[in-house]
Structures are given as structure tokens and as C-alpha cells.
Point group: D2
Chain length 330, copies 4
Amino acid sequence: MRIALLGAGRIGQIHAANIHHHPGSQLHAVVDVNAAAAKSLAERYGAKGSTDVDAVLADPAVEGVFICTSTDTHVELILKASQRKLPIFCEKPIDLDLAKVDTCLSEVSRSGVPLVLGFNRRFDPHFRSLRDAVRRGEAGDIEIVKITSRDPAPPPPAYVRVSGGIFRDMMIHDLDMARFLLAEEPVEIFATGSCLVDPGIGEAGDIDTAMVILKTRRGALCHIDNSRRAVYGYDQRIEVFGSKGMLQAANPPPTTVTRYTRDAVLTDKPYNFFLDRYPEAYRAELDHFLEVAAGRAEPLVTGHDGRAALVLADAALQSLKLGKPVPIPQ
Amino acid sequence: MRIALLGAGRIGQIHAANIHHHPGSQLHAVVDVNAAAAKSLAERYGAKGSTDVDAVLADPAVEGVFICTSTDTHVELILKASQRKLPIFCEKPIDLDLAKVDTCLSEVSRSGVPLVLGFNRRFDPHFRSLRDAVRRGEAGDIEIVKITSRDPAPPPPAYVRVSGGIFRDMMIHDLDMARFLLAEEPVEIFATGSCLVDPGIGEAGDIDTAMVILKTRRGALCHIDNSRRAVYGYDQRIEVFGSKGMLQAANPPPTTVTRYTRDAVLTDKPYNFFLDRYPEAYRAELDHFLEVAAGRAEPLVTGHDGRAALVLADAALQSLKLGKPVPIPQ
Amino acid sequence: MRIALLGAGRIGQIHAANIHHHPGSQLHAVVDVNAAAAKSLAERYGAKGSTDVDAVLADPAVEGVFICTSTDTHVELILKASQRKLPIFCEKPIDLDLAKVDTCLSEVSRSGVPLVLGFNRRFDPHFRSLRDAVRRGEAGDIEIVKITSRDPAPPPPAYVRVSGGIFRDMMIHDLDMARFLLAEEPVEIFATGSCLVDPGIGEAGDIDTAMVILKTRRGALCHIDNSRRAVYGYDQRIEVFGSKGMLQAANPPPTTVTRYTRDAVLTDKPYNFFLDRYPEAYRAELDHFLEVAAGRAEPLVTGHDGRAALVLADAALQSLKLGKPVPIPQ
Amino acid sequence: MRIALLGAGRIGQIHAANIHHHPGSQLHAVVDVNAAAAKSLAERYGAKGSTDVDAVLADPAVEGVFICTSTDTHVELILKASQRKLPIFCEKPIDLDLAKVDTCLSEVSRSGVPLVLGFNRRFDPHFRSLRDAVRRGEAGDIEIVKITSRDPAPPPPAYVRVSGGIFRDMMIHDLDMARFLLAEEPVEIFATGSCLVDPGIGEAGDIDTAMVILKTRRGALCHIDNSRRAVYGYDQRIEVFGSKGMLQAANPPPTTVTRYTRDAVLTDKPYNFFLDRYPEAYRAELDHFLEVAAGRAEPLVTGHDGRAALVLADAALQSLKLGKPVPIPQ
């Protein structure tokens, strides 16, 4: 499959390399508003660089699209690709505005093109293995889910200002993971938080330390904690507890080396951030997208999943503002 | 120090053995409403068995008191012992009624006798080591605390009915641990929960699965989760996260034996329940009590600590009923 | 059982405390050539201190003997105790001279008194659990055994000179453990080693770093490595590998606390030395001795076991000298 | 770099995929005596399949050679490639006959072409990290090295018969690792072993369970244990102990998922075999080969390393036959 990659930034570069190296795909074109960036990334893999997304999407050779641009362009690009009947992979989120998301998804639905959303953690082998075990019933009926997600360092306040806030920018991954793990939809959410890491984040109107509790109709409880700054690295853990036991997925250490010294026993700290933590997940996303585009699989992350995570993030923000739990619109 | 032990039940038996074996203490008398139980436990260690608490407390040989009776007798026994000017160790809680606790503590304070409360986990070497590290600043400024506490099997609904409910009966230990770890008092609490383990507990008006979030004035967040039934054993873990890193205390396994089989790698599950999980803590409580009674140490768990944990438990219950966070009376 | 403790040194003090605290035993007398040491230890537990071993053994109140004196006195004291028909616990080794051991054991056998030898590691709960699993067949037919044993710091060369050498002084524990684990007797041993830690040990005619391979008739292989200096603490590990899998027993850490820092993830180093590593083993030795003395159990470590470990240690030394494997006399 | 791959078997397929996907290399041709195998593998990556090694090596487009054929053809192919002045990557061993190895290496040396040998474990990130730490002196002066290497299942006796035996076929990797870790050459080796896994291996004149002790001039000791059958998977561990502490590299588990059940705590068993255990190592080998071919790095595994490991394997076999340690020819 010849793929057009839209967006030559950090995450676009990951996908470009994977598309090039995958036996089932080929990087056909790279589009970016920055011509030099598009050209440089394209040339690395023998593809065409361009700043003209319409021209590239009109190219009959293009068979699929990866959307890795900034969030505010996602809806427009999804719509263009769906008009061209091209299978779409889009980085999360679809948009920060729920109404725009709804309009976009109904267009996609009408067009019939498959859309896979980039919630990368669903594709991580550790979390995937845990979720498969949950689905096989190894934990029994789910009673408690706990998700920890902490970034190594806070983003600059300027980014925070346009990010949509911690719930829509960061915790949205964990809210999606909660839905991925729980066998049913949450019906209520309580969110709280503080600005403890960087006062500039507070001045930008956001928090940097957050906790959320979700409750499902059946009464299962899910807790999420986020911090924008874990000095020991990228901290991503999951725990699922139920009537038959508990399943945990821990941070995989870069190496298994243990050092016994005069003072302590030392092992590796976790990976630094998502690019080195989730390389297999990005490769698995591509594998999956190619299967979906070929009609051999249903999307593991649908547009509806993207919408549902955004609904939870919005509800979390509302709960934070009101200082009490709010119901989740079903 | 010659000690009178009041209450010959499960926890009384632990203290009796420790008092007998400790070089600095001697079991002088055992009192229980069940004469046979008092006699049997007393004889095991060469002490006197009795059903008459007043007679025993009037015995001039008695130099200290351990109160291990049912909760509803604690206040009366504390008052008797404080009138006799005897140093007191009392199992938690002082009482489920805050007004009675206040009256009791002001009497104790007037009498000047030292009172040590039996929040055993403060004395556990693993948690103690973690807390010492927190106090040394190894985690930096505390931002997130997470406490997991799950019992192996639910109590009978009949017990639940008189227990004061999950917050005052079970989570009170975790609420005390939260105060022990945080460098400041919580100002707000949100509690939620479900009855997922045993419908009989729901019929008794209680829940068996609970989550709580505490917030301090500075904005630090503390999460506690409780379940009445963890099939893999007694699950007691702590995590403290801050500006300089993270500290965790895990479940100590009974042995370090690992089995590599055709199917998986197996290690021991956690200890079954508190009696086998916390033997060192009970010994350390006695060590500490003897130091306090000798005037060489201040109580690590005061009557005020007992009161403060009860205030939190009561606030949790109120939050659960109201369905929203409530402020903690300071 | 009223026990006479012979030897008030480091290990004698451990046994004295355990004997005092055990509900089934009482410390009746402490004998040491150093009168002050005997007195001081005896007074701590309300026992009699003495320098006269014959007088103490003649005391009709004495019902059992713990021999914790220096190795060169063991045989004489065992014989005295066996003439008095007293059940005997004796620290390892019986003697460094095999002929003396044989004479001694045949006297003990004639007298019919039970003799339990102090190979403490057989009583450690971790190793005991591993060995029980091995006996239940969890590893299948044993093919490979690996035993690691490293002390935290070398003894002074003066001690080394009279110690009998690393095989008889230190590795003898591991040789006994090898026999404890293997289902059959070794038939061949190869030993090698170096002086890498302290040249003074080399000058004293010994090595401080050693490796041994034992082979059983069936062909199972057992490897032991020893070092006199592990800067990270007392390192005692076992691995048993067989047709059905592998069992390992690791160093139990003092606490389960884990620290995540900017640089690494840190856990506790192992215990410092045998006194803090094996407290449960010493208590279990006493439990076992009391059961044996009461006729309710057969010795878990017999005089024959002590002899067999010495035979292996002697063979190791011979192999080291000859520079090649030697057969084990059966 | 356009690469000709000789040998389309299991390991050749690994290298073919890596060469194809690497940005700095291209799979130009695949040669195999089995025409269908050559064609099938070549076509997967747009390369030419052939049975004619001379024709392929004569192709001026070829810039480098990967030799992945059966051992008995290695020398001939190395010589052909070196005559063509092509940089060579060759799977271990060069040959089982030391004289042929010497002739071959002196030809390679004369030709000046770089030769990298495929001791894959040197390139594994876990072992590489451990060795880097050793080289930085984190363990201090090396005193004890322990290498465990166990295959999941024994090869058929027919393979064993032509394999050169366990030391040259299997332990040769560990002997190379020993040299990689030790800062000096071994001067003596003792080998022992048994046939415990499959009597057919014994009938083929080999053993399936082996232990070796190496000693360096300075007196450092290195132990290796091998088994042809570990039911729990591919077991590859290293321990380096020295004057400043200990470093260990463990088996990396496929996932970090832990399961807490009614009976035990379960984690993943190790990877099944080398293909899934060492994918990063094979990629790193290729990276390294391209650097060496470009003159930007010296080979991490030279022909001399291949020879030295074979010398150790031969000496191990001699020791096994003689039943005593033998000196290593220097």
C-alpha cells in the first residue's frame, strides 16, 4: 500500500520509518506546511515531499493516508481523505470540539472508509497482553482498575495554553485505556487536581497533577493519576483487580542489568518518553492499519473510541470546575 | 514492666505472646469476659486469668495496660486505666463516636498518662522505612500518595452491621497511613464505592469496594483503594510520588523462591492476612510502648492520631452519602 | 526443657535468647571459659553462669545441651553430654579431623542420645521451601544445582590460619546444602580457587575465592562458588534445575522499599551477615531440637551429615592441591 | 551497501530481513544450494536468487557478503569473498578445525578485508550494557564470572553427530562471552558433563549437560553451565562479581504482565529461543558491520575472537576426555 503521510513532525517521522520498513507498505509522499521538513523526511525514504495536501491526495497512486499534523487540522484532512475514499490513520484526538468530531465522524461513516485512531497504548505488547488476559476472564469480574501515567517533564506553558488542558491533552490516553479495559462504559466521573510542578502551567489555566475516578453502571471503579513531571522517566502502569485476582503491567526497563553495590541494588529506570517506550506499538499500529485497509480486520480504535475518550475528558474538566462528580453523557 | 492485658481474642493473643517474650515486659494478668479464654491465655505464660477488670487494675503490681477488647469498651477501659495512672496501649479505634473520643482524650490528657494507639502499620519495617525516606526528603515535595489495602475475604454481614462501615472499620488504617506519610493535614475528601463482593454487605448498609481521594491545603493528592476480597491474599501497598522521585513499598512475599515451569514463572503470593503479615509490627509496637512508658520516647501514634483518622473516616462516609467531596473539619 | 548452653560467644548469644523466649525451653546455665561472659549472658535470662562444664553437666536439672564453643572442644563436650544421656545440639563442624569425628559419632550412637548439628541454612524458610519443592518433584530429575555463598568481608588472616581453610570453614555449609538438595551422594569433586581478596589469606596458606563442581553417580552436576568479600552484603543463593523446570531462592531484602530516582531504581541490598540473615533459621533449629529431644522427630541434620560435609570439604582441599578432580570416599 | 547473502536458512532469513529494512543496506542477491529457497527469500525483498555463489560474488554490484551457510562451507566462502575484497560477515564458527581456521584467517589478513564474526550475544543490549559497566570498572577487579546458557529443547541426535559436540556447537557462545567479559585470557579450563536429557545424544558421542570452569592468569574464575533442555524456555544469564560489587543480566521477559491468582504470582517465562530472544542483537550486528565496512569502526568480533573461542572449546573437549583441567594454548 502506497501511503501519503501528512505531517513531518516527531510522530510523523516515526510512522514514516515504519511505513518504509514494513514489507506491506511504501512511503509515497510526505506533506508538511514546512517544505524543508517535508522534503527532508521524504528523501530519506525515496518519497516525494510536498506542501500541497490536495495535490498529493489527488495523486491516484496514493492508497492510504496517515494524518500526523497538528490537532486543529485533523477534521479537515480526515474529510478530504474520506472524500478520496482513502483508508485513514489519524493521530489522536480527532478534534477538541465535540460538535466538530460528530460532524466529521458522520461524514466518515457515510463515506465508508475505514478510520483507525492512534491511541498507541492499545497496541503496546505489555498492555495488549494484559487486556487479552482481562478479556479471557483471568481477573474475573472487574472491580478496580488503576492507571498511572506520568510524563518525564512538563511541556512549556505556551503549549499548555493551546493543548486543551491536561485531561484532553494527556489523560485522554488513560481515559481511552480505561474504556479499553473495562467491559462497560463509565457513567460518572470525578476529577481533581493541583498545580504543583510548574506555576506557569497554573497561570496558563491548567493543572499539572491530576486524579480521576470513573464509575461504571455495575459499580466498577477506575482510578487514574497523572503528573507532568516524573524525574525517573516515563511512568505508565496498569492494574486490573477483580473477583478472580489481579493483573498488572509494569514499566519495561531498557535492560535487565542489575548492579549490586556497597549502598544499594540498582536497576534501570524506565524509558525516558513515549518515543522509546512505545516503538513496538507504532509498528503494531501500522500492521493493524494495513489489515484494516485490506478488509481483514475491524479497527481496534474507531472514531467512536476517539469521541468517547473526548467525552470523558470534557466531563473530567467539568467535574474539576464544579468540584464534584458529573454524569457521563451516554 | 508488669502488664495487664484486657481482651483474650485474636489480637490479644498476639500481644500476650510478645509481652511474655520481651526482655523488658512480663504478662501479669489477662482479663476477658470469657473466663475460660482469660484463664487459658494467662496460664500459657504464667499470668493470672480474670473476668474482673477492676480487681486487676487495682492490683498494685500492674504497671501498664494493653486494651484489646471490643471497640465499644475502649473508652471505659482507657478511663479506668488513666485513673490508675497506668500507661496505656489501646487497639484502634478509641471509639466510633467522635464526642466520646473527645471526652476520653481530654480525660487522658488531664491524667498525664501516656497513651499509644495500635495503628500497627506505622510499625511495619517496610512502611516505616518508606516513611523515614519520605521524611528525609528522598521523594522531594509530596505530590501523589497511593495506598492500596485489600483484605483476603469479606467479614460476615453480621460483623459488618456493627463495624461502623468500611471507612471506620477498614480504611481507617489507610487514612492514618495517609496522615503518617503526608507532611500536612488533608482539607478535603471524596469517597465513592460499590458493593461488588457480597450482596449481604450491601444489605447490611455497607460497601465492600471503595476509593477515596484526599487533598491537602498545598494541593497534594492521596488516593486509597479498598476491597474486602483479594483472592491472592492480603494486599497492602504504598506509593509516594514527589518532586524528586517515587518510593514504593510492596507486599513482602513469604519466601524468595521462584519456580520456572513449562507455563510461567511463579513466585509466592502475599501473606494471607494481618497476623502473618505484621508480626514485626506487633513486636515493634511493644518495644515502642515500653520506651514511651519509660519516658524515653513520645508516642508514635497518639490519641489525637486516632481521633484524626476517625474524623477522616466520618468525612468519607459523609462524602459517600452526599455523592461529592466534603471539607475536613480542622 | 532446661538447657545448658556451652559457649557465650556470638552464636551462643543467639541461641540463649531463643531458648529463653521459646515456650518449650528454659535457659538453665551458661558455661564459658570467660567467667564474665558466662555470667553476663546467664544473668540476662535468669540463668546460672559458670566456667565449670562438668559441674553444670552434673546438675540433674539440666535436660539438654547446646554446644556453641570453639570447634576444637566439640568432640570432648559431645562425649561428656552423651555420657550424661543429654540430647545434644552442636554447632558445625563436629571436628576438623575425620578420625576424631568417627570416634565421637560411634560413641554418640552407642549412647543413644539424639544429636542435631547446626547447619542453620537447612532451617531457613526460603531454602527449606525450595528443598520441599525439589522433594515434591517440582524440578523433576535434578540435573544442575548452583549454590552461591559469599561473605561480606574476609576474616583476619589469624583466624584463617586456624580455620581449617575455606572449604572446611565456609564452603562446608554449601557442601551440606548440596547434599540436602541432591537426591544422591556426590561421587567426584573438583575444586579450584585463588587468593584475590586479601594477600594475607594467601600468606596464611588459604584461598579467598573458590569454585567447586560436584558430580553424582547419576551424573547430576552441582556448582558452588565462594568469596570472602561481597561488598554488597551476605550473598546466599540457590538454583536447582531439572527435567521439569528450575527453582531459585534469592537473597531476601530487608525491606520491599523501592526508590525511583533521576538516575536509577534502587532496592535494598541483602542483609549484612548471617546473624541478620538467618534469625528464623536459628529459631527453627531450636523448635526442631525440642521436637527431636521429645522423640517426636528425627534429626534433620545428623552427625552423619556433619561427617559427610567434612568428607566433601577434605576432598575439595585434596582436589585443590592435586589440581584435578578426586573421587569422594563413599 | 549492496549485500549478497549466502545461505537462505533460518538465520539467513533473519539477516535478509534486516538488510532489506536497514536504511544503509540493500539485499542484492541470495545464494543457496536449494534453488527454491534462494528464490523465495530473494523475491520477498526484490533481490536475485541463485545457486551459483561464484557468479554472484563476481557481480560487480555486490559490495559486501553475509555468510550464513553450513559451517563446513564457511572457510571456502570467506576465502572467495576475501579474494573479491568484499567486507565479510560470517556466522560462527569459522570452522571446527583449528588448522583450517588459521589458514583462512591468515588469507583474510593478507587480503585486508574486514571480517566480522557473528557472536550475536555480544550485540545484545542487555549483555552489552553489562559489559560496558564492567569495562567502566563498576564491578572493580573481576573475581568471579558466571554464565548460564540453556536451550529450550535438544537437537536431534543426527544433528549432534555432525555438530562438533556441545562445546563447539553450543558453549562456544559462552566461551566467547567469557572472553568478552574477562579483562584477560583464560589459561586453564576444566570441563565436565553428563548425558541426562536424551540418551540418543549420548549414543551420538556427546553430552547434553555441561559445566566448565575457566581460570585466568590473575586467578579470576569463570563458570559456565549448559543444558540442552530447559522446559521454561531459552535461559541466558550472566553474572560478574568483583572487588566493587556484582552485575547481573537476566532473561528479559516478553511482557511485564504479572498475574496474582489464588495460588501464586505468575510472570512470563523467558523467550522461547534465540530468534525471539535476540532480534535487537541481529540488527545491531548489521549496524556494526556497515560501520566496519565503511571504515568507521573496528570489528567488535574479529576472526581472532572466533579462533580463540574455538581453542577454548577444543580444550574443554580435551579436559572432558582426560577428566582433568588442561592448560589453554596461548
